[in-house]
């Protein structure tokens, strides 16, 4: 069927462009795109839950932070090698997602949003409370020597770019595949009409829990990747702000689309970059964009594209 090949071509084309970008862009933008790809992984995580399953979590920073601290603390206190630390980070994020899911999924709608917000706030305060280990707001830095990935230096511009690219590519393609599987279709069914999905014999509660675990783990993966590539672990990444930002990216790029997260992060990044000449309070821009999107374009950029020019957009 042509529908699928078009979408595949689009995904592979985007990845190809990201590879080309490395060779043609000036250094500053290469660094920027590395960061964008890491954050886009985070946005993909939220998109699975919010965009595809219809569950709006306002507390995803706790999963990002679970990955980040799982990775950072494993290196700092256990002197774990990078790969092991990464696996531990994913386990930490998955475990937290499971516990949060079992509790928070007893609620729905507005209550779910507030419960996830409060769990994330609890997690943030826990990070601050154990400042002895986490260094609280100040955070801690991972030394270059601690960040060797199988002997490979990820602190160079090239190393960082291609590690970010590889993880992004895996998540991006894996995600695009996932939403085409029966599992993905059923998540969409739950988003569209939960009661109908249940009365077709689907165990809605189990699907939601699985979606939350996968979503939280991808977000945690982004957190660990951030710590690995940028060498910094801090409580800011657990704060409310980092729960709201991925929501903003996903909304801007287009919730429930495969390319939305990347587009959203990229747009927002360069919007803030461009506005930094006038103001350094980027959260003001974020707030304005959030309000305008909610009012005028709740489907986001990719959503509008799908509606107007590319109805086949996955």
């Amino acid at each position: 069927m042509t529908r699928f090949s078009k979408a595949d071509a689009l995904h592979l084309g985007i990845l190809a462009m990201l590879v080309i970008a490395f060779f043609v862009l000036p250094t500053y933008h290469v660094g920027a795109v590395s960061r964008i790809m890491v954050l886009a992984v985070y946005a993909i995580g939220l998109n699975l839950l919010f965009g595809y399953t219809g569950l709006l979590s306002l507390g995803h920073a706790m999963f990002f932070a679970a990955g980040m601290y799982g990775f950072g603390l494993a290196i700092k206190f256990m002197a774990a090698p990078v790969l092991l630390a990464f696996v531990l980070a994913l386990i930490a994020a998955a475990a937290l997602s499971l516990v949060v899911g079992l509790l928070a999924l007893r609620t729905a709608g507005v209550a779910f949003m507030i419960v996830t917000l409060m769990f994330a706030q609890t997690a943030y305060l826990v990070v601050l409370y154990f400042g002895e280990f986490t260094r609280g707001d100040e955070g801690f830095v991972l030394q270059q020597a601690e960040r060797l990935l199988l002997g490979f230096d990820v602190t160079s511009e090239t190393g960082r770019y291609f590690v970010a690219f590889s993880v992004f590519a895996i998540c991006f393609l894996g995600f695009a595949r996932l939403v085409q599987t029966p599992f993905g279709k059923r998540l969409i069914a739950i988003r569209e009409n939960e009661e109908r999905a249940r009365m077709l014999g689907y165990d809605v509660g189990r699907y939601k829990l699985l979606a939350l675990i996968v979503s939280g783990t991808i977000s945690g993966c982004a957190g660990a990747l951030y710590a690995l590539l940028f060498g910094y672990v801090g409580a800011t990444f657990a704060s409310v702000q980092y729960s709201i930002l991925p929501l903003l990216w996903v909304l801007l790029g287009g919730a429930g689309t495969t390319i939305g997260p990347l587009i959203g992060v990229m747009f927002m990044f360069y919007l803030i970059d461009a506005s930094s000449a006038y103001t350094n309070s980027y959260m003001l821009i974020a707030g304005l964009v959030l309000v305008l999107l909610t009012m005028f374009a709740p489907k986001g950029i990719a959503g509008i594209l799908r509606l107007r020019v590319m109805p086949w957009l996955p």
Binding site: M199, L200, Y202, V204
Partner: protein, 240 residues
């Protein structure tokens, strides 16, 4: 063996009794209509049978098995299908995808069989030419037909239809009666219906609920002649 049986099924909503000790049996392979005046508790009853509404007390047996403790999705997995009183389809998805979700629970491992099933069902209900259309864009009548298609796609042992002809035009109702008659023998149908024309033409057997209680049972002819049923519908007391 009866396909479905309830014993003492009761639902109390904050002191108001919606269903009181309903003992009900459903004959396999027939079309049974569940009728009764507004507020008789018909939807509550099938809600408790399908598991959407938790029963206050009482038991439900499906294929001889006590399913009272099972959640709705498990009951559906045992071979029930349920269509909602108020149209409930996946409005943002295409007709094809809607039916695919219904059939996909059992067939998703085999894409070819799945496609065959979907095509066959859409053909049978007569909306195959609309399979690419978004469900939310369909006319109301077509959405109701899509609901029925989603029920059929599950190949159910027991098909519960909650007021399927509500809001349909005359000609659509006639098509519906024809469709439902072709299903007789193939599956068991429990039909909640207001439209007496549909009931009399489609049903093999009728059960009447009134004020949450079982009032009468019988063939269409028997029910037609039943004084108590007449009274319930006309609102006059039956002479003692």
């Amino acid at each position: 063996m009866n396909i479905l049986e309830t014993k003492g099924l009761t639902k109390v909503y904050g002191g108001v009794v919606a269903n009181a000790d309903v003992d009900f049996t459903l004959r396999r392979g027939q079309i049974t209509a569940l009728i009764g005046p507004n507020g008789a508790g018909k939807s509550t009853f099938v809600g408790m049978v399908s598991g959407r509404i938790p029963a206050t007390r009482g038991q439900v047996f499906f294929e001889g098995r006590d399913i009272s403790a099972l959640p709705a999705h498990k009951r559906i997995q045992l071979g029930m299908a349920y269509t909602f009183q108020i149209t409930s389809v996946f409005r943002g998805l295409s007709v094809y995808e809607n039916v695919a979700l219904a059939a996909g629970r059992t067939l998703s491992a085999d894409p070819e069989a799945l496609d065959r099933r979907i095509t066959a069902v859409l053909e049978r209900v007569g909306i195959k030419d609309r399979s690419r259309q978004i469900a939310g864009d369909l006319s109301y009548g077509h959405q109701r037909i899509l609901e029925i298609a989603m029920g059929l796609a599950q190949d159910p042992e027991l098909f519960i239809l909650d007021e399927p002809t509500q809001g349909l035009a005359e000609s659509e109702v006639a098509d519906f009666i024809n469709l439902i008659r072709t299903l007789a023998g193939e599956t068991t149908i429990l039909l909640i219906e207001h439209n007496m024309k549909v009931v009399m033409e489609a049903a093999d057997y009728i059960t009447v609920l009134d004020q949450g209680m079982l009032l009468a049972e019988g063939t269409p002819a028997e029910i037609h002649a039943n004084a108590a049923v007449q009274a319930a519908y006309l609102g006059t007391a039956v002479d003692a």
